[in-house]
Amino acid sequence: MATSTVPAPLGERLTRIWETAPGLYGVIATVDHKIIGRRYLVTAMVFLVLGGIEAAMMRAQLAAPDMHLISPEVYNQIFTMHGVTMIFWYAAPILSGFSNYLWPLMLGARDMACPRANALSYWTFLMSGIFLYTSVPLGQMPDRGWFAYAPLTELAYSPGLNMDFYAIGLTFLSVSTTVGAINFIATLFKTRAPGMSLNRLPIFVWGTLTTSFAIVFAMPALTASCALLFLDRRVGTHFYDAALGGSPLLWQHLFWSFGHPWVYIVVLPAMGIISDLLPTFCRRPLVGYTFVAMATVTTGILGFGVWVHHMFATGLPATAMSFFAAASMVITIPSAVAVMSWLATMWLGRPVFKTPMLFAAGFIVLFVIGGVSGVATAAIPFDWQLTDTYFVVAHLHYVLIGINVFAVMAGFYYWLPKITGRMMSASLGRWNFWLMFLGFGVGFFPMHTLGLLGMPRRIYTYHAGMGWGWQNLWVTVGAYVFALGVAVFVYNVIWSLVRGEAAGPNPWDGPTLEWATPSPPPPYNFAVIPTVGSRHPLWEGRLDETESRSQLARGPVLDAGRDTFGTTPLDAEPDEILRMPEDTVWPFLLSLSILVICYGLVTGVIWLGIAGAMALLVTIAGWFWPQPSMTPADGEV
């Protein structure tokens, strides 16, 4: 079905209603999900580059035995910052960026359900990152690993501010993550276009929905563990101090009962990206849509039952461990279902190897390698050998790079034309893919064998007699080639902004609603609120389907103000008109207040903390002050 053509006066009217205010005010006051989504993507990529620089420094130190380029103090700070940055400030936020940008477009809505909360989620993400990186010029970067095992993190063993930056920074970030997750859940159940029933959601939406629920249940464990750590360090409690009745293992249980669900939080939407772009580039619908959607949800749920496989060596009873080993193996099944769906889609369709498809194909191979090495960690006795060796480093990088970064790259090549309106270079795209794919293989595959040869994690140097020397050189060379691939990507983005040809609304002939909008989409997304009649609204009439037909050109325009439909949770029947909020600076000011509180906490300057708290109260009052414009003019439908 062709894209609707909007009558010019309607388009201008809607633009006036939805457009972000110009100037600096607009920069800090915008609530447009597309602007927020873009900022998420750019900011998360900046953190990817920062984490990459840290990785490059580590790899220089480890390239050969007995190197002394970096002192152990600095090395420990760098490997910790690398992990914390990549896992918390890149891997999940980059997916939030895609979700923020794409959800309303995929779901046929004009914005997220809670646009101001969306702005708050971004500003807290940015400012918590700024807070964390304040530790760099101070030379007090967190240095106890991203997992930060107590009691090494206690004041007695970590007297600097390093771990205060960690505990406070993560708590700050968890505000962003939790607010974002609740917003996705609200959006999903409230603002889908009429007819966008649950069985028509793109798999990417299923992925983000599942992870949003996982965040709501997992995040409190991390926040609690960090809060207890802060109390131990700065107030004098003893939650993790064995000598005074505390328990070091309490940290591990809290941290991993958050940490393992987090793994699925940073991969399920990425798997969704692949599930959604494969149909476009294999020219047929996804095989086994319902299986893949259910596999996504199942993984999210099972993900809460496997955390103990991070703790097999802590001396837990064998029976208890066996349960978690079984759960950790069972969770392979939904992943296998997804892989088979992708393979079947390739085999029963006709793959067209544009750049996104190259990354998707590479992704499938890396996904399987990262998956089978994960099964090895579930086999308890073998885990006693491989845990805390480079085998696990290999495994987690196949998960975080193979399953997250490769999917993100595929996603960028697929959707950036939608976001910027311009195509990226296909030839640079091929260079980008092959540099990253080969660099990754050369750099990260030998980490498996280094692990099997016993190289422990988190060592700043190693002796020549250990048999790890030249494989480490490979790893370093491969990692640098991979980094070159990332540089080509950045160059390609800039190239496309300057030189790229106009994309048009649907350059890949994709089947889903986001391709029905112009590229880039106007501030109001859809001039006409679409009515969805199938899973592939833009392929209707070209597939042997008998589903009802979507309506994209005709329908309600809702041009009385910032209005969009509120729909029922399951079948998406319209039941009210929602008046969406105007631009507002309160989310920005609220985040700034929290930033001030965090600086007060880390420095121990009480008046700073109190000033931040007062500002926080004022901004919350301002935010919730009654506004007449929030009531829809037309009332109920």
């Binding site: 095992y149 000598a243 086994g288 060596a313 099944i333 997804a338 067209v352 006795p381 048999g467 042997d544």
Partner: protein, 346 residues
């Protein structure tokens, strides 16, 4: 299994590892922490489980890679480049039933059964342990105590654990500060060393030799240099070693060494280090009663030679930055005397 069969199995395994790893095979033989070959019942059982997992993983990855590459090379004819396939949304579910559910379930059930089998074989030693060794993790070295009912017969040493060949030894592990993890991979899997808890483990060496280990829980600045050694020796040799360790340090007869003993007692050495036989109270650093009988210094950081020992005493912070031992400023004569004395602590 005969020797020849054993060798050919090993060769086969190496071949598989080589094909899996793209030719990194030569490194295997020279890596003392390589855990794909065990030299004790626990490590051997785990290595068998490991090989199963590695080989099955390699096969799965190979099949999927072939399917992806073949799908890419297969070029079905199309009317136009981006035309849709004229097939419905349904179909292809047999891929999911067979490849996504049935085959993974079979492989996983088998893997889980093998895991439980190996778990059974590794949690308990084949027979009662002949000795109990307490291992206490410190930042960044291992205190090793052989406990005896008679307290005067208790042995205290550091970083090196002697065991008799072919006999299980019980380990009781705890920490004096932060969490460490004790690991000698060619004998057994790792066990975390946690303050406030005592974890019990065991290991057994099936042949004589020196088996290297590592601390494998990140424990701060010198986590990289906290490497224990297990020395497996025939029962007679082990008993001789035990008897020697039980003795106090001999009073030196050589005048140089006697002067060195005085240096030890009068300098700050004695504040932290104990030498049984001298009236020193130091318990902060490793017990030095039989220092000269050890293979390494500073928990595997340096080989135990006179030169390295001198360097260690004079410049400890350069060799292992951040460790608790202060740099000793001794007159050259005093240092030489001290070295002469320490060398008598066989």
């Amino acid at each position: 299994m005969t020797m020849a069969q054993g060798r050919s199995t090993r060769q086969l395994r190496r071949l598989v590892l080589a094909s899996v790893t793209g030719g990194f095979c030569t490194a295997c033989a020279d890596a003392p922490l390589n855990y794909m070959y065990g030299h004790g019942p626990a490590a051997s059982s785990i290595a068998r489980l490991g090989w199963w997992l590695v080989i099955v993983s390699a096969v799965v990855v190979a099949i999927v890679t072939i399917l992806v590459v073949a799908a890419a090379l297969r070029r079905p004819a199309a009317r136009e480049p981006m035309a849709l396939e004229g097939i419905g949304a349904h179909g292809g579910l047999s891929w999911i039933y067979i490849g996504g559910l049935l085959l993974p379930a079979l492989i996983l059930i088998l893997s889980f059964a093998l895991t439980l089998g190996s778990l059974h074989a590794t949690t308990r030693p084949p027979r009662d342990p002949v000795a109990t060794v307490q291992i206490i993790g410190h930042r960044w070295w291992w205190e090793v105590r052989y406990v005896d009912r008679d307290p005067t017969k208790t042995i205290v040493t550091a970083n090196e654990i002697h065991v008799p060949v072919g006999q299980p030894v019980r380990l009781e592990l705890t920490s004096a500060d932060v969490i460490h993890s004790f690991w000698v991979p060619q004998l057994a899997g790792k066990t975390d060393v946690i303050p406030g808890l005592t974890n019990v483990a065991w290991l057994q060496a099936d042949r004589a030799g020196v088996f290297r280990g590592a601390c494998t829980e990140y424990c701060g600045l010198q986590h990289a240099n906290m490497n224990p050694i297990v020395i497996a020796e025939p029962l007679m040799a082990f008993q001789t070693w035990v008897a020697a360790q039980r003795t106090d340090a001999a009073t030196p007869t050589d005048p140089d060494a006697a002067a060195g003993q005085l240096v030890f007692q009068k300098s700050t050495c004695a504040t932290c280090h104990a030498i049984r036989g001298l009236e020193t109270l130091g318990r902060v650093g490793p017990d030095l009663t039989h220092l000269a009988s050890r293979l390494t210094l500073a928990a595997g950081t340096l080989e135990n030679t006179r030169g390295n020992l001198a360097g260690w005493i004079a410049n400890t912070q350069a060799l292992k930055p951040g460790n608790d031992m202060p740099v000793m400023t001794l007159a050259p004569n005093d240092l030489q005397a001290l070295l002469a004395y320490l060398e008598t602590l066989k």
